[in-house]
Amino acid sequence: MVLGTYKEVVAARSTDKQIQKIAQDGGIVSGLFCYALDEKLIDGAVVAGPTDVMWKPEPMVAMSSDEILAAAGTKYTFSPNVWMLKKAVRQYGLEKVGTVAIPCQSMGIRKMQSYPFGVRFLADKIALMLGIFCMENFPYESLRTFISEKAGVDFDLVEKMDIGKGKFWIQTADQLLSIPLKETHGYEQNGCKICLDYVAELADVSTGSVGTPDGWSTVFVRTDAGETIFKQAVEAGVIETKPMDDVKPGLGLLEKLATDKKTKAMKVIDERKAMGLPVPFKGSAEKEDPLANV
């Protein structure tokens, strides 16, 4: 269960050439949002949009495919998308909202839906939550420091960042640089260290690069709502899929990374409890499945 509950897992990618070109991996988030917008399954989507400062995203409400595509690609720093959900409903007047969320954001949204203490008329308007795999997140200054100081690249020249094969990759117009992940450790935000969710276990559909070859993504279909939209998109030919068993490195690598993240987090959780520091999660001794996100 280190990968959460799911109905189906497949390797998938967007069939749209333009999305393939700009996407981080298989373009699943961009492809599904564009499809859901076209089919009016959502009225808009909260995404991490670009700002005047390179690689410093801000949450934005995307109302068209163009706006979705402008926000494509992973940014390895904060974009408090949950904040923008209320604006999407109150100021943009959306009835069916899509949002992309990393695991901690999906936890904030799901808690709000189950216990909407002070949140009026929003819980039932989240029509599609696309989760992305996440090992950790970096403060903007951390990211800038290790790219400009450790890799020696001007931050503004970076065209794409990626994590894979044990390295942090930095792509500029004319070169591909990498920093071993060991050297980025210590730069991540501290709150990530107790996080027990690697594969966005609470999203409708969750996706990420790990498990599939370049240009493809691993996709978990989790909820009924996620299943309906994903199936429609595949049937419409917007997304193409392959069985996970047919691709390398496959689910084994995901299971390993998810187990590693959870095991490390449980150690920190137990240490914090021993020190008397607050933790919202149960300690190892208090739960049946030591790696469950509870």
Partner: protein
């Protein structure tokens, strides 16, 4: 469909099928239970919490006529003597200079099975925490405290106001005896000193913040924004309702309920 089933499906609270009893049996039991006797006690608050309750348009009529008995309430029931009640919803904080409020609160505790701090004024004091007296019509009314400072509170439903949805979900859970759902409200009965600055002291200072933005989304007075991935409080706008910290995924984590609600 029965009233209870309609309400449950409206709020996405359908019982998962095929446990032990069939769903119909569960509903039958629920409907045969005596209707809970509910009282509404209004202390120092703005009536917004009660208004939020009435915003459950789709279910309000069946709720009031078929699911509960409102047995006491200043503007709701023509009755001077406070009767015995199963549940008392107390709106507003209690003014220490107002003998009548103090007396009424103590009487509520004696007459009610469950005392609910309904809304943030009752639960945390909320904006009445800023009172310094000197206002009309009672210049000496200056000290307002959450009701848990004076009597034992069983459940707290913070919010300024609490959302119509949480009110309906709580009522349904109370009628069904769904104590798992109510557990966080029982825990929150002890959270009486709230402030937007709790995010800094209880989350950021404790190495728990992950910059998700849920607090800023939840803030009902737009006192919070996100700067460099951390909440930033405009204390001039904060009413000390506690909602930001209550909704934070790093304050408490209802994992089982969320999985159940999502069908995972």
């Amino acid at each position: 469909m029965s009233i209870l089933a309609r309400i449950k499906s409206f709020f996405g609270m359908e019982a998962k099928p095929d446990k032990n009893a069939s769903q119909e049996e569960v509903e039958k039991v629920a409907e045969e239970k005596a209707k809970p006797r509910i009282g509404y006690i209004h202390l120092s608050g703005c009536t917004g919490d009660g208004m939020s309750l009435t915003e459950n348009y789709d279910i309000l009529a069946p709720l009031l006529t078929e699911m509960v008995d409102i047995v006491y309430g200043q503007t709701l029931v023509d009755l001077w003597e406070m009767p015995e009640m199963d549940i008392a919803l107390v709106e507003g904080s209690c003014c220490l200079q107002d003998e009548h409020s103090l007396h009424e609160l103590k009487e509520v505790r004696e007459k009610a099975g469950l005392v609910v701090a309904f809304g943030s004024c009752a639960a945390t004091g909320c904006f009445t925490r800023y009172s310094r007296g000197g206002q009309q019509a009672q210049p000496n009314h200056e000290s307002f405290v959450p009701i848990a400072d004076l009597v034992k509170v069983d459940l707290a439903i913070p919010g300024c106001p609490p959302s119509p949805e949480i009110i309906a979900k709580t009522v349904v859970a109370a009628i069904n005896g769904d104590m798992d759902y109510l557990q966080p409200m029982m825990d929150l009965a002890g959270y009486t000193e709230a402030c937007g600055c709790d995010l800094q002291s209880k989350v950021v200072n404790q190495a728990l913040c992950i910059g998700c933005g849920t607090c800023a989304m939840a803030c009902q007075t737009r006192a919070l924004s996100m700067t460099n991935g951390r909440p930033e409080l405009n204390s001039d706008r904060c009413v000390k309702c506690g909602i930001c910290y209550v909704q934070c995924p790093r304050s408490w984590w209802p994992a089982e309920r969320i999985n159940q609600d999502l069908g995972l």
